[in-house]
């Protein structure tokens, strides 16, 4: 029986950044991975969980398990949501659900599961890699994303001290403390601009929503790109 791979598209990607999800599909299909997408999927529950609404988050965790349990593998273009499912569902559900260990962040799936480092993509310019905090500290760190980007021809990855700093999004933190949250993003963007970077590439669109939202408001010239867009060659 062939392996069933389910796509998990985070709710805000579905609603606001569908091109990121389409890019992820393109990358996977090009590698011969046939994905399924169950439209009953919604949100992993992280916003509620991080805000202290654990009862609500637990209900969404149950929903997630119901939707995704049928797959052998679940792939998501969003590191933060994957970390949520892998590392926090246990506490919410009060039990181990085997499916949570079968959920992969896109880069991790490519490098560790499919053993692919080089997608043959190209993009010219200088970029910083911003790995979301939960992916950096709870998943596989920045290794998989770095390996993939190192093989993008024409792309120069520049290491900055600010690479590991939080972008300031933090879910509802970003609306509870808008000025503080923006200041955290600004400090990162400033450093990128000082190093004359063209792009900030991330395996998580929520960080890019934050960095990009401030860049647009304040006129920073650094362009946010999801790693799936880069790997799929869908940067225009």
């Amino acid at each position: 029986m062939p392996m069933r791979v389910g796509l998990f598209i985070p709710c805000y990607v579905d609603q606001c950044y569908p091109h990121v999800a389409r890019a992820a599909v393109r990358v996977l299909e090009r590698l011969g991975v046939r994905c399924e997408y169950d439209p009953r999927q919604t949100c992993c529950g992280q916003p509620a969980y991080n805000s202290g609404y654990w009862a609500e988050a637990a209900r969404l965790a149950e929903h997630f398990v119901r939707v995704f349990d049928k797959y052998d593998c679940v792939v998501a273009p969003g590191g933060s949501c994957v970390a949520m499912v892998r590392h926090h569902y246990r506490e919410l559900l009060g039990r181990d659900e085997p499916v949570t260990a079968r959920v992969y962040e896109l880069c991790q799936f490519l490098t560790d599961h499919l053993k692919v480092d080089d997608l043959g993509a190209s993009l010219s310019g200088r970029a910083a890699l911003h790995v979301p905090c939960h992916m950096l500290r709870e998943l596989d760190g920045d290794g998989p994303a770095r390996r993939l980007l190192d093989n993008v021809s024409g792309l120069e990855l520049v290491d900055l001290p600010s690479d590991t700093w939080c972008c300031g999004f933090g879910g509802t933190f970003s609306v509870k403390f808008p000025e503080l949250s923006a200041a955290m993003a600004r400090r990162k963007l400033k450093q990128m601009e000082e190093h004359r970077l063209d792009y900030v590439v991330s395996p998580d669109e929520s960080c890019l929503m934050q960095l990009g939202g401030l860049a647009r408001r304040e006129g920073f010239g650094v362009r946010p790109l999801h790693i799936a867009e880069v790997l799929a060659g869908m940067v225009n």
Binding site: P18, G45, R137, E179
Partner: protein
């Protein structure tokens, strides 16, 4: 009620503050800390052991306290108990008055700050003299320390010079102290200011009738107090005056002197990026009259908290502050607690009853940098999250927020409804821009447009 949000807005508006904090942490302490950790293959193993020693001690605290008290008394110390900060202060003042003390040399101590012992001494007509350079500056300026190991972290040299001039510690403000001046000249001026402080304090040290300290560790097997420092002011404060009072939180206990090998290999590295601190003093059989006051002040209640008692393993290194992006924008003063940063955000609501401290667990983006660095492996981000859960369960958040999350969760559990209610993109966007969280988002950033076609719709068209 003080509001973290409003307060942080003002602090963020002062970009110089964050610049100074980043310089002091990211560009200085953390650089050194990380360089040392990279050369320590046993770093993780030491952290794990430190965590275990602390947990073992906490879960056998009665035994170790008994052992400590017995040993310390056998060594000639007088050991007493204080339920609260006020209680501890009263005892300190009593000891001072019964020994006819006029002047107290104070070694830097977070416990001393916690109980506000200086205020109590002053009220009793006794002069407390802070002897750590940073703490001395805080005392002169009448402000609390802003960091557990770097009290004046956000002070510029220029500000220190101005303060010293106004207090007659220096006659003239030297040239070349502002940020643009030649680094070599600035280094010289830093030395000049330090020297002036040293002179001003020397006589006070020598004439103090009592020294007050905390302790970094209290060793049960031998009744030993362990004090860690770089300046030598703690040695001066605790060894010269005839009376020494140590106010020691019951969380400072460790079982054995041998455990110091573990803790002293972690503490200086995490705190200041030094392989070893300048002075580690072990006070075992004192020659001064030594009074040890064991302080509860909320710690017993925390010990009984099955989920959070590991917060008592904190060794006050301050590393979680250095790595915290929130701390680095608002400073310690932004937390309105003597314990700031991630540990302060989780510890303060346990130690202090005031409702407004319940804001602190929300003042974090949960990036987890704190838990990653903490030398005793306290999962600070997890503790922050658990506090949020507790506060929500206790009804501590606005009703509107609770209602919004309930409605949102309902929607997200009903995929059909969720897919159906998606309003036309433009309209939803406009609404989000005006109301609720979107409005607060838009206060500082652009909101992404809702896509004309969701991924789900695209998939249905192209793959179904």
């Amino acid at each position: 009620m003080w509001s973290f949000e409003q307060d942080s807005r003002e602090r963020v508006a002062d970009t110089g503050l964050a610049d100074k904090l980043h310089k002091a942490t990211v560009e200085t302490s953390l650089k050194k800390t990380n360089a040392l950790i990279a050369k320590m293959p046993h770093w993780q193993q030491l952290r794990e052991r430190a965590r275990q020693v602390k947990l073992h001690t906490l879960t056998h605290l009665d035994r170790y306290l008994r052992q400590f008290v017995q040993a310390a008394e056998a060594n000639g110390a007088t050991v007493a108990w204080a339920d609260t900060g006020a209680d501890a202060c009263r005892q300190v003042v009593d000891i001072a008055q019964s020994s006819n003390v006029k002047r107290v040399a104070k070694a830097k101590s977070m416990t001393g700050e916690e109980i506000e012992v200086n205020r109590a001494l002053q009220r009793a007509g006794i002069e407390p003299v802070e002897t750590d350079l940073g703490e001395m500056i805080c005392q002169l300026a009448g402000e609390p320390p802003s960091h557990v190991t770097a009290p004046i972290i956000q002070w510029s040299m220029e500000e220190v010079a101005r303060l010293f001039k106004s207090r007659g510690i220096i006659d003239e403000i030297p040239n070349g102290i502002d940020g643009r001046a030649d680094p070599a000249v600035r280094a010289l001026n830093a030395a000049r200011l330090t020297d002036a402080a040293r002179r001003a304090l020397r006589e006070k040290f020598l004439t103090a009738d009592m020294g007050i300290s905390g302790a970094n560790f209290a060793v049960a097997e031998s009744g030993t107090l362990v004090l860690v420092e770089n300046e030598a002011n703690i040695r001066l404060s605790t060894m010269l005056p005839p009376v020494h009072v140590a106010v020691v939180g019951i969380d400072k206990l460790i079982p054995k002197l041998a455990d110091l090998a573990t803790f002293l290999s972690l503490l200086p590295v995490a705190a200041t990026g030094q392989q070893q601190s300048g002075y580690v003093s072990l006070i075992h059989r004192p020659y001064a009259k030594l009074h040890i006051i064991l302080l509860d002040n909320g710690r017993m209640r925390l010990l009984a908290d099955a989920q959070h008692h590991d917060l008592l393993s904190c060794i006050r290194c301050g590393a979680c502050m250095n790595v915290c992006p929130v701390y680095r924008h608002v400073s310690g003063h932004g937390y309105h607690s003597i314990y700031p940063g991630p540990i302060g955000a989780v510890l303060t609501p346990h130690l202090r009853a005031e409702e407004h401290y319940k804001q602190l667990p929300f003042a974090s983006s949960l990036c987890g940098a704190c838990a990653e660095i903490c030398p005793v492996m306290i999962p600070l981000d997890e503790r922050l999250l658990q506090w949020r859960d507790r506060i929500v369960k206790a009804g501590g958040r606005p009703r509107s927020e609770a209602a919004a999350f309930a409605a949102w969760a309902y929607l997200m559990q009903h995929p059909r409804l969720y897919r159906a209610v998606r309003p036309p993109a433009g309209l939803a966007h406009a609404a989000a821009g005006m109301l609720g969280p979107g409005g607060r988002w838009k206060a500082t950033r652009e909101l992404p447009p809702l896509a004309a076609e969701t991924f789900a719709d695209w998939w249905k068209k192209n793959h179904a």
